[in-house]
Amino acid sequence: MHVEKIMNQNVITLGPSDSIEKAHQLLVNHKIRHIPIVNEDYCVIGIVSDRDIRDASPSILTNGPEKEVLGKEISTIMSSPVITAHPLDFVEEVARIFYDREIACLPVVSNEKLVGVITEKDLLYTLIQLTGTHVQGSHIEVKVPHRPGILPEVASVFGNRGVNISSVLVYPFNNDPDYKILVFRVQTMNPLPIIRDLRDAGYELMWPNNIPEPRL
């Protein structure tokens, strides 16, 4: 999946000479945590986070002349240079960047101009879609040997029963490289025939796992 599919295109930005105070208001009013700073050509020249603003703000315990700092230009506290993404980057790459660089927002840049932002929250939403838990379904986990052709073998059981699969995830099985766990979300309230077929075909089910006793 490409970044352009999930990025937010209505980006709230500031110019470098806008005040810290203004940035603070934008963060509060729009319930956002990051503001890209752009020049007159809409090139990204910096980014500020809610944490940058908080660090720059005077302590709530004082009410002295420090208040003036909020009138300073945002360019004095923005982070620069900025790590950016391209609309055709993969969401997996963005996840990697978020994890490695410990950040939570990337401006998306195309032809040197800002075209969108992607945040940690957008990424988590996409993850929810990938798990299929946003649509009605039942959950089945199958432990399988890690070998070519196993996925279509297992998946054919669902197809033969005319049951739609809304998502498939492949997990490692503990630290054993010889096995994988296949997690299916299937669009049925009655997974019993499928469970029976899977068992008859010799697959080991991690769920349903028949605690406390065999039920089928």
Partner: protein, 390 residues
């Protein structure tokens, strides 16, 4: 004591049958009715036949395009039906689908009218409670959502505040979404967590939107939850929610699939929960609703050992304020044992030796208690201290 309560029944309610292999089997209603008759709990004058629901009434919840599709399902192409959720493994097409589904809606409306118009104190329609029906989609064995239609009907015609209590093991999603923004309808669903089980929703943080925020309650409980934990959190939650909402009428969806025998779910309740569930519903109806209580059926896939006893206890509690104990009438067991593929129970309770031992019991209870606290955190200042002893 002769309470005026009504049992909606007619053989036409059994026409709601997808196919012979399908787990949703309305024979349950006959088994329940006969069990009650043999127990001397149900008399002919308490049974009333259902009326028919009009298209306009069904359209209180469902789109006209969807109703048209249900009506002509036999003549429509598979690919045109699928967007309505019809023709799937869960809700395959059967003949006279519309008539059968509309009859169930009519039966639930008859139960509503018995209480709201004819002055009955309670009424049951065990053929109803099809809580997965959506505005424009069938799902999870449900075509028309009779429970949601009944609530909308009560709202429109009588303008009363409705508390909907759903104890089916599956989340009551169709009813929840139908009233998600409505502060006059409070929905409470206790169900097995959606991590594994259909439909997957019903998380504790689904609390409603807009004006309806705070009026949807979900108590997802862990797989293998047993009686003690189930009963304690159900009682606590329902009393607190009713106190917060102050309902005028209560509708219960009495799905009977949280039992350890149920083949489709993973909860481990015994018959004890099916005694307590109606007892607390009755208590709430007396405390806030001047006794007005409409009970519906729902899921329940062990139609021989679990559902008849569970539903009969709803009626017993509605009638006598307490469930029956001891032996089941031998005549009932004798009659149906010939047909049943399993050994029928002999008592209202489950014998202790049949109740499974769950190794993770303590952890499960702890987890469920945590979910209960989370559920009630906005409802009442009292919560956590006085009411919820744990």
């Amino acid at each position: 004591m002769n309470k005026n309560i009504k049992f909606i029944f007619d053989h036409s309610l059994l026409n709601y049958r997808f196919n012979d292999e399908h787990p949703f089997n309305q024979k349950r209603v006959i088994l329940t009715k006969e069990l009650l008759k043999e127990s001397g709990q149900l008399t002919e004058d308490q049974i009333i036949p259902p009326r028919v629901a009009s298209d306009d009434e069904i359209a209180l919840i469902h789109d006209l395009a969807y109703i048209r599709a249900v009506k002509s399902a036999n003549r429509m192409a598979q690919e045109d039906l699928i967007k309505f959720g019809i023709g799937t493994e869960d809700t395959p097409v059967f003949s006279n689908m519309h008539e059968a589904a509309a009859q169930i809606v009519g039966a639930t409306l008859s139960a509503v009218e018995a209480v709201m118009i004819d002055g009955a104190q309670g009424a049951v329609n065990f053929a109803g409670g099809l809580h997965h029906g959506f505005k424009q989609k069938a799902s999870g064995f449900c075509i028309y959502n009779d429970a949601a239609i009944a609530i909308k009907y009560i709202r429109k015609k009588f303008d009363l505040k409705v508390l909907y209590v759903d104890t089916d093991a599956h989340h009551g999603d169709g009813v929840q979404w139908a009233f998600y923004d409505d502060p006059k309808v409070c929905t409470f669903s206790i169900h097995e967590t959606g991590r594994y089980l259909f439909p997957g929703t019903g998380n504790v943080n689904e609390r409603g939107i807009k004006e309806g925020h705070g009026f949807s309650f979900n108590l997802p409980i862990d797989a293998f939850t047993q009686d003690e934990s189930y009963i304690s959190i159900y009682e606590n939650a329902l009393r607190e929610i009713a106190d917060f909402f102050q309902p005028d009428v209560i509708i219960t969806q009495n799905g009977a699939d949280s039992h350890f025998y149920d083949p489709l779910t993973h909860l481990s309740g015994s018959m004890a929960i099916y005694e307590k569930i109606p007892e607390v519903a009755l208590e709430i109806s007396k405390l806030y609703c001047d006794g007005k209580w409409i009970a519906l059926g729902g899921g329940g896939y062990d139609i021989w050992r679990v559902v008849p006893r569970a539903w009969a206890q709803v009626w017993n509690v509605m009638k006598d304020e307490h469930p029956l104990h001891g032996d089941l009438p031998a005549t009932w067991t004798l009659k149906w044992q010939k047909e049943a593929p399993v050994t029928l129970p002999l008592t209202w309770h489950d014998p202790v030796e049949e109740i499974p031992v769950i190794p993770r019991k303590i952890e499960i209870e702890e987890k469920n208690n945590g979910t209960l606290m989370n559920l009630l955190k906005y409802t009442n200042k009292k919560s956590g201290s006085t009411r919820i002893g744990m």
